[in-house]
């Protein structure tokens, strides 16, 4: 009986020590009650200022092969983190010009901050004319875009579905 009581009390004491000692140690080691309670953010400032629209189109050239256009698009990364696309495909339309077509990114790309490069996209025009496309590019009209992509942010990858009714990437 005595052993049982000793055992029970020993376990209770050990349990209390296990709970209290780390609390007391860390409380005494921290400067104030606020430091003791509050976790701190360690996100680099560049991530806090991340702007998803930091990819900007700087130039658009194209070659025509029947109804298929090979778009060569100059893209500039205006943000502070590396950004790119691994895969991208979907539809682009401009209701005001009755343009509609399917696009597919030909090869993945990654742009370091403040870097610019040309990206090739295959675009199959389903409705609209070449003249309408010229108007779209020259007037820099907003586009409607939907599709799937894998966004690269620094060393990470984010698969996503996009559905944007009015976007001005110019």
């Amino acid at each position: 009986m005595n052993i049982e009581k000793t055992l029970i009390w020993s376990l209770r004491i050990v349990t209390t020590i296990i709970i209290l000692v780390p609390l007391i140690y860390y409380y005494l080691a921290s400067g104030s009650l606020l430091d003791f309670v509050m976790p701190s953010l360690t996100i680099p400032p560049s991530l806090l200022s991340f702007n998803p629209s930091s990819l900007r189109i700087t130039a658009v050239d194209y070659e025509v092969n029947g109804e298929t256009y090979l778009l060569s698009i100059g893209i500039y990364n205006a943000g502070d983190i590396g950004i790119g696309l691994k895969e991208a495909s979907g539809t682009i339309s401009v209701p005001s010009l009755n343009i509609r077509g399917r696009f597919i990114l030909q090869s993945s790309f990654f742009l370091k901050p403040k870097e610019e490069r040309k990206v090739n996209i295959e675009f199959l025009l389903e409705s609209g004319t070449r003249k309408d496309l010229k108007i779209l590019v020259s007037q820099r009209l907003p586009i409607e875009i939907s599709g799937e992509a894998v966004l690269i942010l620094n060393s990470t990858e984010l698969p996503l579905n996009v559905s944007i009714k009015s976007w001005n990437p110019w």
Partner: protein
């Protein structure tokens, strides 16, 4: 060895391994699981938040102390169960049994579900902006409930549209091992009660 001692022994060993092994019991992965944009790993012993591959949150000393206590309590609980199940000749060995392998995973699972079903919706009611930007955050956090999280772009970028990003909310193998340990512990406790129950008189 009695049945309940065998069950307790396996339960204690499994729970000791889980407590020492570390690692998340529940994960929220935003993006590709091999290279996630957002990673949240939570267990009774640790919390890890990573954004774009970098650690995003340093735990407060209070959280660190609580996690250390939880881990030590789990180690103590499982060790006493193992010792108790092996010392069958000692009557006091029964005093070493406890239900910590059962209560900890159950408590953890309930905490995750309460967080996703009660706390997040309450927060979203308090902060309407959060509700506008992430309308289905609750569903995305509930384990195994949804694979995509909708982000409405208008409130943050003034672009009419939305982006659905791949998210995974799941319990990990560590959680399931701990749950198995808890189940064995519970069954052991039931067997123990049955085996030690005094037989009713015939007359």
């Amino acid at each position: 060895m009695e049945k309940f001692r065998i069950l307790y022994l396996i339960s204690g060993a499994l729970f000791l391994i889980t407590s020492l092994m570390g690692g998340a019991w529940w994960e929220l992965i935003g993006g590709e699981s091999s290279k996630p944009v957002l990673y949240v790993g939570f267990s009774p012993f640790d919390l890890k938040v990573e954004l774009l591959g970098s650690r995003a949150v340093d735990l407060s000393p209070l959280m660190t102390a609580l996690f250390i206590s939880e881990r030590l309590l789990a180690i103590l609980g499982s060790t006493t169960i193992i010792v108790g199940s092996l010392l069958q000749s000692k009557t006091w060995s029964l005093r070493l049994f406890n239900l910590r392998p059962f209560t900890m995973p159950i408590g953890f699972g309930v905490t995750i579900l309460i967080g996703a079903i009660v706390i997040i919706p309450s927060l979203m009611r308090l902060i309407p902006f959060m509700d506008q930007v992430l309308p289905d955050l609750r569903e995305a956090l509930v384990p195994y409930a949804r694979r995509y999280l909708t982000i409405n772009l208008y409130p943050i970028m003034h672009i009419e549209g939305s982006v659905k990003v791949k998210v995974t909310s799941q319990f990990t193998i560590q959680f399931w091992i701990a749950s198995l340990s808890g189940l064995l512990c519970l069954v052991g406790a039931i067997f123990h009660k049955r085996e030690t129950r005094p037989e009713s008189p015939l007359h």
